[in-house]
């Protein structure tokens, strides 16, 4: 089925938050700190106040009547800076004016006097003895971290995730092969093309916001808590989003926009520039020390990982990213001992949050490089070592939690075949594979309502967000399949928390799996209702009635859905309403998790130019292990998009920070992939083993390929003779490594 939103988007009719205009709306602009760490001595707003068209100016002093700190994991972030700024780009004030140019000019006219403080600009600086503390108050847990009991802050470390199983030191001491190295993953910007944008309206009805958010119900909860308003009086409306990839998960620009609208007494719209969104959220940079122990014949024994995730000045989703990274660190192998110590570290840089396949993207490539190195020393092939050591379905991935629910060996063989693994190649060409697992699904709470209208069409109400993945199309297909009617007659629109039922979040590849399951159950309630009505048409033989082609059939006789609804309600009006939900059931709790293991698998063929250090990605292949593809075309698009983002992450994307200042905060200097970076050959294999927990055996996709492709490019470049331990693989970095290798005794 074609995307239900194709025409709207092609014709330029699809409305995004930045296109929204509400009556009496003002335009907001944010004044941001130029310093990475400083005390605010004074704020002089008199010149800005005097400018014609300026309606309101918000500073920390306007927030004395509320607890102005938010954060779903750790409540550490003020709506605007209060007394101190902790990163360059932190909001210090905001202006609402009658037009955007006036708001911007007024924001520039505010004079802030700062007293600079020492900064910790890197993980190393933050961990050094006696390091300046980014936060000096006790840690306050947020309402939605889902990580059990949070420990107290330890210096600049705000969260720690550990796994300790087996006698790691003893296994390493006895192992034939030990591989160890340090790895660096850069800060990366998600670059959803639409920047963070919010329209907020505060009046006696409560708070209404139109927001670029992936998690409308979590934003609602944070806004309700911040401004002390009942949940039912906070209304979050989410139209189309111009991409998310995690950058719009949790709460971002909503609180400052609401606070400004509250001060102005009129609706306010804030649309970030790209440079502002780049300091609103990003992917964690990470350093890690990874060790792998194995026998001389390539049997993997133990893995030991220490990793530090730079969460910037505020935790955002850092704790969850750190935990997921910790889960991904061992890799999907049968270890006899594992030790993981992953720390989430504050620094004076922009806050880091979610980005597609977080955790797995950070660490899978490092572990996979070591698996290949073990294979090289053991004298076996990259495919063979994985075939021998990969977990089989039903085996435990980590202590506790869901056993493996995917056929990794089967996926590996498919991805290798799709790439053309065994073909001839020259010495400058490298091929690599990488396999990993990502704890997916987040918290399993979703609900949906399906309404069948009197004309036999239906409406799906669901609280997860259409970020571009095509969920509205997929939900219509799921409901259509249950209701035995064409998906084209089923409409699914955006979230409005006043009317759409609760959904926990949009991310972690969960929408088709969990919201989709809720839609399936809601549609099933209507199916049962339709059969009940039909049973009054043909009494005495309910088992002989079936739903087909938008009608109930009994032998050769049929009643269309509109006829059945008219029979129920007596007139041609009325509506059948079905509700469906998913919540943590049985023993599979969130703490034990995950909802499912997303397979992160990719293969790549690269060419390395030894003179220039330039790496070209010629071929890629991915496997979308989705259980059941509700819409195969949309599944392929997910993997293709993730592949390209993986190429960007691996080859050139990198936020360059020096002394707490982001140097490349624009698309000229921060390069993302263009169509010219598309490999000459790329393919996606869909695997449908119906082994997922979602509707019809489906499970999510769209993230795994990103981690898979980063890992595959890393192992492919190593296969061409250049093992790299720092991403991205820019020509300069690769060239330097080639020179180092020439000097090293082999």
């Amino acid at each position: 089925m074609a995307r239900s939103d194709a025409a709207e988007k092609l014709r330029g009719d699809a409305r995004y938050v930045g296109d929204m205009v509400v009556p009496r709306m003002l335009h907001g602009k944010v004044l941001r700190s130029p310093y990475a760490h400083a005390r605010i001595v004074s704020i002089d707003r008199s010149a800005a106040d005097a400018m014609p068209g300026v309606v309101a100016i918000l500073t920390g002093a306007d927030l004395l009547d509320i607890d102005p700190y938010f954060g779903h994991a750790i409540k550490d972030r003020p709506i605007v800076a209060i007394d101190v700024v902790r990163f360059a780009g932190e909001p210090v004030a905001a202006v609402a004016a009658t037009d955007e140019a006036t708001a911007e000019a007024a924001a520039r006219a505010i004079v802030v006097e700062y007293d600079e403080l020492p900064i910790v600009g890197t993980i190393e600086e933050a961990l050094a003895p006696g390091a300046t503390l980014v936060h000096d108050q006790p840690l306050r847990p947020g309402a939605f971290h889902g990580l059990g009991t949070l420990a107290e802050r330890d210096g600049n470390i705000c969260y720690r995730y550990t796994i300790d199983r087996g006698d790691v030191d003893a296994v390493f001491a006895a192992a034939d092969i030990v591989v160890e190295d340090d790895y660096v993953f850069p800060g990366v910007y998600q670059y959803a093309m639409e920047t963070h944008s919010v329209v907020a309206q505060v009046d006696s009805d409560g708070i209404t916001i139109w927001a670029t958010c992936q998690h409308p119900f979590l934003v609602r909860a944070e806004i309700a808590a911040l401004f002390d308003v009942p949940l039912g009086r906070v209304r979050v409306i989410v139209p189309y989003l111009g991409g998310g990839f995690g950058s719009k998960s949790y709460t971002k620009m909503e609180p400052i926009t609401v606070a400004l609208a509250r001060k102005a007494g009129r609706p306010v719209r804030i649309v970030n520039r790209v440079d502002e969104s780049m300091v609103t959220t990003r992917r964690h940079n990470m350093t890690a020390r990874v060790r792998t122990a194995a026998t001389s014949d390539g049997c993997l024994l133990a893995r030991d990982v220490k990793a530090w995730f730079d969460t910037g000045a505020y935790a955002d989703n850092g704790p969850r990213v750190t935990a997921t990274g910790g889960d991904a660190a061992p890799g999907p192998y049968r270890w006899s001992a594992i030790r993981v110590d992953a720390a989430c570290v504050y620094t004076n840089t922009a806050p880091s949050g979610s980005y597609r396949a977080f955790g797995a993207s950070h660490l899978q490539w490092a572990g996979e490089l070591q698996v290949d190195e073990v294979a090289r020393r053991a004298g076996i092939d990259s495919i063979e070592i994985r075939r021998r050591n990969l977990l089989r379905p039903g085996e435990l991935v980590r202590p506790g939690g869901k056993p493996l629910d995917a056929d990794l060996v089967g996926d590996l063989e498919k991805v290798a075949e799709a790439l053309g693994w065994s073909g001839e190649k020259d010495p400058d060409t490298g091929r690599g594979v990488s396999v990993g697992l990502l704890a997916a699904g987040a918290h399993p709470v979703s609900s949906a309502v399906v309404r069948m209208e009197a004309d036999g069409g239906a409406v799906v109400l669901v609280g997860s967000t259409e970020v571009g993945q095509g969920q509205r199309t997929a939900f219509a297909q799921i409901a259509g399949e249950v209701l035995a009617m064409p998906a084209e007659r089923i409409t699914c629109q955006g979230t409005d928390t006043r009317f759409t039922p609760y959904d926990r979040s949009t991310g972690a590849s969960r929408s088709t799996t969990l919201a989709g399951l809720a839609v399936q159950r809601a549609a099933d309630a209507i199916r049962v209702d339709l059969l009940d009505i039909a049973a009054t048409v043909w009494p005495g033989d309910p088992g002989a009635i079936e739903l087909r082609d938008g009608a109930a059939w009994h032998g050769d006789e049929s009643r269309t859905y509109p006829e059945l609804i008219a029979k129920r309600f007596g007139l041609s009006g009325g509506q059948l309403i079905g509700e469906g939900g998913v919540h943590p059931e049985g023993t599979g709790s969130y703490a034990e998790g995950p909802v499912f293991w997303e397979v992160c698998i990719g293969a790549a063929e690269v060419h390395v130019d030894r003179e220039t250090g330039q790496v070209i990605v010629h071929r890629t292949a991915t496997v979308a292990d989705v259980g059941r593809a509700i819409n195969p075309q949309l599944v392929e698009r997910q993997d293709e998009g993730a592949t390209m983002q993986g190429i960007g992450n691996a080859m050139f994307e990198e936020m360059v920070y020096v002394d707490g200042q982001l140097l490349n905060d624009n698309l000229l200097e921060y390069r993302i992939p263009t169509i010219e970076d598309l490999p000459m050959h790329s393919s996606c294999v869909i695997v449908e083993n119906e082994d997922g927990p979602g509707p019809f055996g489906a499970k999510g996709c769209g993230e795994g390929a990103l981690a898979g492709i980063i890992g595959a490019i890393a192992t492919a470049v190593a296969d061409a003779g250049v093992p790299m331990t720092e991403l991205p693989f820019t020509p300069e970095r690769v060239w330097r490594r080639i020179q180092e290798l020439k000097e090293e005794p082999s």
């Binding site: 988007k9 930045g18 093309m193 920047t195 790209v274 390209m644 263009t674 010219e676």
Partner: protein, 155 residues
């Protein structure tokens, strides 16, 4: 200052500030929101509109420069016959996801097709390098445009 232009087939005159960019005039004054703002630096192509048939980045193009010229936005192009084959190929290939880049992409493709610049895969890669798409990974866009090119050549 006052400018007079042909906008989406209609003669239009309006008062603008000399420093105003075309994207602001289109979006804020004329409510033509099909052109999107993203990078603001002529890199991403999501604000692409046509001036005298040539694609320009409206985010960085002075509105004053459109005086006496012909401006086409997606709101004008979508009701012309040339829109249909591009839209059909994009729909068939699902060559869009979030849709934010799509109107700009469609206008660039149309302009390049009219100029005969799209003939093979290499020319499509070269021609569309100024229109970023973060969602699709470009494979489907390449396939959709290849279809349109092939259909035109077969005519």
């Amino acid at each position: 200052m006052r400018i007079a232009l042909e906008l989406n087939g209609a003669q239009t005159s309006m008062d603008i500030e000399p420093q105003e960019f075309l994207l602001d005039v289109l979006r804020d004054d004329l409510s033509l929101t099909g052109a999107k703002r993203s990078c603001d630096t002529q890199v991403c192509g999501s604000c692409t509109v046509l001036v005298d048939g040539a694609p320009v980045s409206a985010c960085s193009y002075l509105a004053a420069e459109t005086d006496e010229r012909v401006v086409t936005t997606i709101e004008g192009f979508r009701d012309t016959p040339a829109f249909e084959p591009i839209a059909a190929a994009f729909t068939r290939q699902a060559a869009l996801q979030c849709g934010f880049c799509t109107p700009g992409m469609v206008l660039t493709i149309h302009a390049l097709l009219e100029d005969g610049e799209l003939t093979d895969e290499a020319s499509i890669r070269r021609g569309l390098a100024g229109n970023l798409c973060r969602c699709t990974g470009y494979r489907a866009i390449l396939d959709a445009v290849s279809e349109v090119v092939a259909a035109r050549m077969a005519r």
